[in-house]
Symmetry: C2
Subunit: 163 residues, 2 copies
């Protein structure tokens, strides 16, 4: 993951280059997402914004999100109805996400093999792809490790038939 600061700074530069405006509201939403470092729902973002100077309504948040999505500065995780800051917004792309069901963490992948195979299988069927959603739910390495340890401890305390 990238440092939140750096992410905002890059966004500033990109927007200037592209001639689009990273307004206060939009920057605020991006900051919240980057600071969280995990998927955050639109209404949670809204709540976080209430902490700031003024109260905002859903459309405000969704408009900011729409802008950030268009600019490739954030991604939407469809299966969670939530959003995350993009790790490498420099070039437009779709990404693959690994979503941990235990800790709620999300890792953004960029894997050529996956993308190539998806590309080829879609084209084969005459399909013209525009946007890809690739989300794998499961258990991340950290949480898998923790589980492992817990199970081992359990076994040590009461040795016997396992599972």
């Amino acid at each position: 993951m990238t440092a939140p600061r750096a992410q905002i700074a890059r966004a500033e530069v990109l927007c200037r280059e592209r001639g689009v405006r990273l307004t206060d509201q939009r920057r605020r939403v991006l900051e919240i997402l980057c600071a969280a470092g995990r998927p955050v729902g639109a209404y949670e973002i809204m709540d976080a914004m209430r902490e700031g100077p003024r109260v905002v309504a859903p459309p405000t948040v969704y408009r900011a999100l729409e802008f950030l999505l268009e600019q490739g500065l954030i991604h939407k995780i469809e299966s969670l109805h939530a959003f995350v800051g993009c790790d490498h917004p420099e070039h437009p792309h779709s990404s693959e996400f690994l979503i941990c069901l235990e800790c709620g963490g999300v890792a953004e992948l960029k894997d050529d093999a996956v993308e190539r195979s998806l590309e080829s299988v879609t084209r084969e069927s005459g399909f013209r792809p525009r946007r890809r959603v690739v989300e794998v739910m499961g258990t991340c390495a950290q949480c898998a490790h923790k589980e492992e340890c817990a199970r081992k401890e359990e076994a040590d305390r009461s040795p016997g038939p396992v599972d």
Copy 2:
């Protein structure tokens, strides 16, 4: 796509084999999905069920959907908040979907290359996958063809600089 009839029949057999109950409500939901042959939202299903003998409330529909999902008889299309009948429910699986933004149609893929590459990239990072969501939005072959034709006609009527 498989004939709706056949899909229901297979579901009957599978449920019997597995010792689970394909009740009237559940069969009805499955029928509606299979007959539609396209993604259908939960509330649309509910409306369709109102045509039948009795009125149903959202929880009823969602419970039936949950059961059918567990049994692998249907899939959820996350990016559409909608459900489709599964083309080959015999063996449990995740699938890839091609979603046409023009006609709303959905094709279910089962591509080894995509699955293998996803599998390997997730395992590499120590991630233990449980469920995959792979959805490609774009234009299907049919709609792409139609568009092509329309554009050609346009060009014929008013020949000049294109786009």
